[in-house]
Assembly symmetry: C2
Homo-oligomer: 491 residues x 2
């Protein structure tokens, strides 16, 4: 260590945009991911864990919302001068894995993956540069049954983790329909098309009238600023408005509206047919519009989608930072991306899938009170007599062997109050106390810390007065007595 | 996608030294880590997940076996010119986390962590640049009870994942004893001391006579090459040899031998006393020398250990690449490192812990036949009639709702043989077959693929002839019949 002393002390900080997760946060995420994995597995999806590090060229330039290549990723040069980077999502690595191993993998290949991804972006409040994703994808089939299955999987997954039916909706759209609308309008790829797409994305916020103004000459927004319009004529803008407002009372009605909106565009008609297939398959399995609905306003930013796109939205309200109620919003999204594998192989490999925003979904479950946010602390065997450490360890050993989370207090035992403060900090349900009197009599003291805290809070209630928060019992009965208390609080 | 086409195709490869893990490999590791986490949790350790990325200065220069700072890690410069790196182990991040959050954490802080770590090293066969570690550490107590607990934890963990008692041993030594021996020899820090330490590390391989030669003038190794010695006299080398051969039949005998080996060195005596405390505590809890043993030949390379060091060794034999039997060897190691947190805070914060080599332990369990290496494949509902996809989906929905892993074949259904080949590749236990005949009669065909394969292998056995590998049943009985078969193979 001598060399270390000469250097200035390093700062004990996470790099900006990174954070640590402690105890219950880790446990809750793990529990949710385990539940999700069980659903994915039951649907026939196999686990895949690719490495966190990929070659920059394999990742490609598909980073969501970033047009510049290799921006937004953490990248560095390897010893052999090739560029490596941390994965920014789980889809790009899947395309690489499938292209690399396609001769050994079943076709179609259903895989799920969960793990951290990294974005080299400006961090902000609640916006981190490392976060979890949890994806399910089917590679190697163009069948709309695969897309319908992803939607059903998403609905089942949300219900399994604790979002009740009625509190979510999976919205489905199709890129081809939108392309058909743009074709009918005569809007080719270019700045005008991009402006139209950005405007469509605002439909949720500004509504039909707002989109009409933004497609035309522009509008005054809520803050009083004037937003320039795309400059289309009323007539030119009409197909977009027809498309956006085509959601009917039933799927059939919506599909009829969409069919009208795409006019004689072949690609548009193909998109409507695909949506119809998905709707038919889902209806046959009993997934009605209370769970999965065709919704033309779903756009999804990602450039690589080529057909159906999905979005899972939580419809219950939470309060925003200013205390105003608002819908919780999107927690998962995906779609069909038939061209990602082709980058590697030159051959078209159809694929479709979904990605769950793990932290968003966890936040939703916490907002709904579905996460207790607590991990039961260990039973703490306190140390009254330092020379009897082996005997305290024996007690702890017995408790652990009975499956009860337990530990000996290993800090400085001098101040007994500190030991109880420690137990409190750990959320311990029970403290065991034994000094020389107890050892001689073959007894231990059992302190019910949860009950003790309740009595301290509200000492008048009869039921608590009747139960002692600390009692003595035979050493031989310790495990049984502790188990009674702990099981009472677990249930 | 137009822009992509202009570029040469990217190669679909993992960067060198990285690999992908598929299906059963992921499931097996997860199952083992879940078992380990349950033991750690029962011992009172709390989960911690720190970020994969740390500042280079926080990681420090403690990379095992690498003397040069910042070598061996994947590092890059952040936008603000600070250097970031992927963590190379879970201990350096723990020291940073504890220093950063010490006012909010309980003292002592027992934490466990599991996850990938990254080493920028030359990859080799079975040597990857990303691999899993799984650590448990106690920070903030100098008590030998914490070290004893880590040893007991390690023994319990190995038995829980499936290494039976007798097939492993946790070996314990103490750096201070070794330092005491070197003090007695008058060997200060410097090249001679380093050479002596390297020689001690070879004791397992070359034995007492080999170490004697290497401490003296050198020796001819098995390949016929002459290895230079350290150049000590017979008398100078004597304490090292006494130390290395001090393992007696009982812990008491070993401790007496060590006490003799450290002579009047104060630090050496302290080390022996610490070992004695650990042995006493473990004996009181029933951890005898069949599980945990004091063994002076444990050195462990890592520079940062300051007291007790531990190593878990698997003692059963496996065959090496050349078919020769050899002991499986080390799967976990650790020790006390009282100075790591001080780097940040300037205050001494004692800490001790252990790290399990996840891939090594998995390999051991596979070698012992404790991992079946298979995940049960899904029931495959085949597609005889493309127009009835919704009805096949309904069947799958019923199976999934009954908790049975199932999927519709989503590839091209034209060639029915391909569907059965797919089911085979997936390890499916059952295929469901239904064409228009079956639909009209309200029936399905159930094909028992496991039984079918057995019959194909050995068609003469009576018990299999009696059971048909394919049978028809009422559509309404499908789930029950499939469950019977699947549960038969699960058990």
């Amino acid at each position: 260590m001598a060399k270390q002393k000469k250097q200035p002390r390093p700062k004990a900080i996470t790099p900006k945009g990174f954070r640590d997760y402690f105890g219950a946060e880790v446990d809750e995420r793990k529990r949710m991911l385990d539940q999700i994995a069980a659903v994915y597995h039951r649907y026939g999806f196999d686990a895949l864990e690719s490495s966190a590090v990929e070659t920059v060229e394999a990742l490609g330039k598909f980073l969501p919302d970033v047009d510049r290549p290799n921006e937004g990723v953490f990248a560095w040069q390897d010893d052999d001068d090739s560029w490596l980077a941390l994965r920014y999502d789980l889809t790009a690595p899947l395309a690489r894995v499938y292209a690399q191993h396609r001769n050994d993998l079943p076709t179609p290949y259903r895989r799920y993956a969960m793990g951290p991804v990294w974005r080299n972006e400006k961090p902000g409040p609640g916006r981190f540069r490392q976060f979890y994703q949890c994806d399910a994808d089917t590679v190697g089939t163009a069948s709309m049954a695969a897309d319908a299955e992803i939607c059903a999987l998403l609905a089942d997954t949300l219900e399994t983790v604790g979002i009740p039916r009625g509190d979510y909706v999976v919205r489905v759209n199709n890129r081809k329909v939108l392309n058909g609308v743009l074709e009918v309008m005569g809007v080719d790829e270019g700045p005008t098309r991009d402006a139209v797409l950005r405007t469509i994305d605002k439909f949720d916020k500004v509504g039909e009238a707002g989109v009409r103004e933004l497609l035309g000459n522009g509008r005054l927004d809520a803050s009083g600023a004037y937003i320039d319009g795309v400059g289309l004529s009323e007539e030119q803008a009409q197909p977009v408005l027809a498309f956006l407002t085509s959601k009917g009372k039933t799927a059939d009605k919506t599909l009829a509206n969409l069919r009208a909106a795409v006019g004689d565009s072949a690609i548009g008609a193909e998109g409507v047919t695909e949506l119809n297939e998905i709707a038919t398959l889902l209806a046959a399995q009993g997934y009605g519009p209370d769970r999965i609905v065709i919704d033309p306003s779903v756009v999804r930013g990602l450039g690589y989608y080529t057909g159906p796109v999905f979005e899972a939205e939580l419809t219950f309200e939470i309060l925003d930072e200013k205390g105003r109620p608002r819908q919780f919003g999107s927690v998962a999204g995906g779609g069909r991306y038939d061209d990602l594998v082709r980058r590697f192989t030159g051959q078209a490999v159809p694929a479709t899938g979904v990605s769950i925003g793990v932290d968003r979904l966890l936040a939703a479950l916490r907002a709904k009170g579905r996460m207790d946010g607590e991990t039961v602390g260990p039973v703490v065997v306190t140390v009254m007599d330092k020379s009897r450490l082996a005997e305290y360890q024996e007690m702890v050993g017995e408790l652990r062997q009975a499956g009860i989370r337990a530990e000996v207090y290993l800090g400085n035992p001098k101040n007994f109050g500190n030991q109880l403060k420690y137990a409190d900090k750990r959320g311990s349900p029970v403290a065991i106390i034994a000094g020389s009197d107890e050892f001689e009599a073959g007894k231990v003291q059992i302190k019910d810390l949860v009950l003790g805290a309740k009595i301290a809070e509200n000492a008048t209630l009869e039921e608590w007065k009747e139960r002692p928060s600390q009692f003595e019992c035979d050493r031989a009965d310790m495990v049984a007595k502790v188990r009674e208390i702990v099981e009472g609080y677990d249930g």
